[in-house]
Subunit: 147 residues, 6 copies
C-alpha cells in the first residue's frame, strides 16, 4: 500500500458560536473562541491519496494536478476568508478543526474520484502546531448545527 | 555581549484597509488582505533582551518574569482578538507585520526598563513561517495612519 | 473516522540501566545512555483521541479539557523530573521511548474513558526530532523489568 | 501495538524522464522535473518498525542498530549521489517519491527480517517539507519502467 | 530600525570541483561533494530588507512585490537547475553556501535599489537545516575561481 | 561581510542551585529547575564564524572541520552528560542557557583562532524551541558563582 501526501496552507478567521445558546453558554463552552470579533490561524492541510504507482510515470497521482485541485477546491474558498461568514458549509456548522477536516474531505473527494485511479485516504488539518484533526472518510456530512 | 530570547505565540484576525482610499485603491494595494471580513494568523513573537549575566543566578533576566510580562502586556491584549477592532494601536494604524513588531516593542519597553538591569534588544514577529519583521527600537511611534 | 490530536512537551532526565547486569553489560547494551549521572530530553507528546463529532459543539472532545487531563495526569508527574528516580512506573521499567509511550497511554486511558464519548487512539512520544514511538493500546503493562 | 521510528536524511540529485517518450512528452508530463541536468533535494526518511518491547531492555529494536542498518543499506548508496545515474534500482524506474519509498523498503526489509523480532511497518520519504510518500509493504517491486 | 524578511525555497543540484586540481586533490578537499554526478538540496532563502515604514500602507516594502522579485531574479534561474552547469555565476565559482548567498545578494541588490525606499540588508541561504550562510553586502564579487 | 553557521545538538541534564542559599531561596528563585534530581533538554547549538571566502575553495571555513571541532570541543564533553556534575565549568557556575552559550564560546574560540583565517562570531544555544541565548564574545569568563 502506497500513500502520497501534499501539504498546503491557508490563513483564515473563525469563531465558535452556537446561536441556540445564550452569550453565557457560548462563553462557558468555547471560552475565548466565542469572541465574535473572530480570531485567526495559519492552517496547514495535509491531503493524502492512495492508489497504484503508474508503471509509466512512477506516480500515484500527478502532484501538480493534486496541488491545483487543492487550490481550486479549498484554498480559493478558504484562504484569506472569514470561515463563519464567507464559507457556505460553516453557515450552519461551527468551524472547529474536526469540522474543517471533514469539509475539506467533502470538497476534495469528488474531484479525486472524478480523476480516477487514486482515492482520497486522509485529510489532516493543523489549526496550530499543537492541534490537529484527521478525517479518514466514510461519513458524508459535517457535524455541528448551530443554526 | 549576551542576548536572551523568549518565544510566544498568539492567534488573531486582521485586515489591511486605508479609510482614505476607495475600495478599488485598497484592493489594488492590499489584494486579498483588503477583505474586511478579515482573516487570521498564528503569530510567533520572539522577544530579545540584553544585559549582564547576574553572577548569583546566571540569569540575564528571569525567563519566568519575561514570560509573565509578555503575557500581561501583549498576549492578554492580542490573543484571540481582532487586531483592527479590539487593539487600540490598530484603530489608527494598519496591523502589518512591521507595525505589530513596533507595537509589541512599545508595549514591552517600559516594563523591561522598569525592572532594571536588562534592555529590550529586538522584537521579531512571524506572521507565517515565511514572513517576519524585526524591530530594534529607537522610534517611538508605529507608522501607518489610515484614520 | 475522525481523530483529534493535542501536542504537549516536557523536559526530563533519564538513563538506561538494568540492575541485573554488570556495568560492562549495561554499557555494551546501552552505550552513553547507561551513564547513571543521567542526561535529558525535551520530549514531545502527541495524544490522539477518536469519537463522534458532537453536532452541538463540533467537538470530538473539548481540547481545553484534554489539555488539562494531559497536564494533570502526565506533565505534573514527568516535567522537570528524573524519570528513573521520581516517576513510579520507571522504578522497575527502563524509561525508553517505547515504555514512556505505553506509560503515558496507561496514565491517560482511564481519564479519557471516565469522560465518556471518545476513546484514546494513539500516544506518540518524540525523544528527539529523529526518534519517536507510537503506542496504540491493547496491552496493559509497560515492558522492561530491570528490578 | 507499538511502533518505533527513526528519521534520517540524505541529499541527492534526480530528474524524471521516460526514454520511451519524446522530449515534448516528457516535458508535458514532468514539467521542470524533466530537465536532464538534474536538480536535487534534502530527503528525509522515516523508518518505522513494529514488534514486542523486550522486557529486559525496554527496546522494540536497538536504535543504534537501526541507525547503522539505514546508513549501510540506504544512505551509503543514496547520499550525495545522482539517483538516476548511480543507484541501480533507478536505472529502470523513475526516482519519484513513491518509488524511492518502495525502494528504501526493499533495501531495509531483508535486514530487519534477518535480525528477527521486529518487522518493518512503514517507510516515509519526504522530498520537501510539503511532499511525502508512505509505503507500507506487500508489493515486491518498484514501479515505473522507463527503460 | 525595522527589518522585513521573506523566505523562499528552491531545489537544485551542485557539486564542488576545482578544475585546477587533480581528482585526488578535489576529493581530499571536498569529500563526497566532489562527486561530479552531482547531488542536491532543498535550499531555503531568507531575504531581508530595511527601510522606513510607509505611514500610508504600514509597509517597509510590498511583500508581494518582494516575492515577485525573488522569483524573477533568483528562483526562475536556480530552481530545478544544476547550479554548476546552468547558472552563469557558477561557471567560474564553486556553488558553496557562502557563494550562493553572495550571488543571490548580487542578483537582488539592483532590483531593490531600483525600486527605491528600502535597501537589501541580509541574504541567508540554508543548504540544509544544519548549515547556513549570511551575506550582509559590501563586496561585489563572489569568491572561488575554479576556472 | 559573510557568516557561516553550523548547527549541532546534544542531550544533557542540569538543575539550577546556588549552594550559598537555603532550599527555600533556591526554590523561590529557580522554581521547578531547583529540583536536584535534575531534568534535561535536547540542546541545539548554532556556531557562527566569519571571515573571507577563500577564492580557491569557496569556503569561509571547511564545514567538515568545523563539525569536528564542535564534536571534539563541545559534544564529547556535554552530550549525554549531567552538566552540573560532569562538566568542569559548571562545578562553580549555574548551567543556565546564558552560561552555556558563554562556555561553548570559550571552548571553541581557541580552536577557531588556532586554525587561522576565520573568527568566531556568535554562539547560539536553544534550551527548547522557545528559549535561546546568543553570545557574541568579548568577556572571558562565564558568570554565576554558586560555589
Amino acid at each position: 500500500m502506497i500513500l502520497l501526501t501534499r501539504r498546503a496552507t491557508f490563513s483564515a478567521s473563525h469563531y465558535y458560536w452556537n446561536p441556540a445558546w445564550s452569550e453565557e453558554q457560548n462563553t462557558a463552552k468555547f471560552g475565548r473562541c466565542a469572541n465574535r470579533q473572530g480570531h485567526g490561524h495559519n492552517y496547514t492541510l495535509e491531503v493524502t491519496v492512495t492508489g497504484e504507482v503508474d508503471p509509466v510515470s512512477g506516480f500515484v497521482v500527478d502532484l501538480k494536478w493534486l496541488k491545483d485541485v487543492i487550490e481550486h477546491e479549498v484554498l480559493d474558498v478558504y484562504d484569506h476568508r472569514h470561515l463563519n461568514h464567507e464559507v457556505p458549509e460553516f453557515a450552519t456548522a461551527i468551524p472547529t478543526t474536526e469540522n474543517i477536516a471533514i469539509a475539506v474531505w467533502n470538497r476534495l473527494d469528488a474531484a479525486v474520484k472524478a480523476a480516477g485511479g487514486a482515492k482520497l485516504n486522509r485529510v489532516r488539518v493543523y489549526e496550530t502546531g499543537d492541534i490537529f484533526a484527521d478525517y479518514l472518510g466514510e461519513t458524508a456530512e459535517i457535524s455541528g448545527e448551530p443554526a
